[in-house]
């Protein structure tokens, strides 16, 4: 069965600092991987996706993620966090159905 683990429930970073959110997945074949962001009172918005090819994918708002098959990971990164990045971030894996992790709540200190 497919599953996603986001080990960090809450993360706090200072504005301007770098960010890495962890995601580990379990899936039997080559996965389709996604990162979504949910801002307070907002719907879910796709940040980026990995289907195949280059293992480093670029997304919107300056985010990127790297697929590492050997580690079953798809960590999300941003070099310099902005206060507006405070939100909840969800990693997801797709294989028929779309399965989400439990999310990481990001707080940005000014």
């Amino acid at each position: 069965a497919q599953s996603v683990t986001q080990p960090d429930i809450h993360i706090t970073v200072s504005e301007g600092a770098s960010l890495e959110l962890r995601c580990n997945y379990s899936y039997g074949a080559t996965p389709y991987l996604f990162w979504y962001v949910q801002s307070p009172g907002q719907g879910l918005q796709l940040l980026l996706k990995y289907f195949s090819g280059d293992t480093l994918v670029q997304g919107i708002k300056g985010f990127e993620a790297e697929f590492k098959r050997s580690q079953s990971s798809f960590n999300l990164r941003k070099p310099s966090v902005h206060w507006s990045d405070a939100a909840e971030y969800f990693c997801a894996v797709a294989g028929g159905k779309l399965t989400f992790g439990t999310g990481t709540q990001l707080k940005v200190e000014l």
Binding site: Y32, F34, K49, F90, A94, K97, L98, T99, G101
Partner: protein, 114 residues
């Protein structure tokens, strides 16, 4: 339509009543998903449709929950004899095909059972 539309946006119901939640996916999207998000929690998979059939309904919490989809378009999630633990935001998403290209989410229906 331009996006995934869910109705109603908010629903308050009395315990024991039945409720119907509606999802209008993006036109042409064959895959449709329902999720439940309790306050402060992640997204809990309920069911997904490919066309009008439901290959995976493993997430439906009990037989009080059912869903249908007609005409590869609108889907309805029905909760019978609602309980307070059913209070949550119910999210619908659609994507172009089963292989799951980008899934587009609606704004959700906030269900409160009193």
């Amino acid at each position: 339509g331009a996006g995934v539309s869910q109705s109603p946006s908010n629903k308050v119901t009395e315990k024991g009543k039945d409720v119907e939640l509606r999802c209008d996916p993006i036109s042409g999207h064959t895959a449709l998903y329902w999720y439940r998000q309790r306050l402060g929690q992640g997204l809990e998979f309920l069911i997904y449709f490919q066309g009008n059939s439901a290959p995976d309904k493993s997430g439906l919490p009990s037989d009080r929950f059912s869903a249908e989809r007609t005409g590869e378009s609108v889907s309805t999630l029905t909760i019978q004899r609602t309980q307070q633990e059913d209070s949550a935001v119910y999210l619908c998403a659609s994507s172009l095909d089963r292989a799951v290209t980008e899934a587009f989410f609606g704004q959700g229906t906030r269900l409160t059972v009193v």
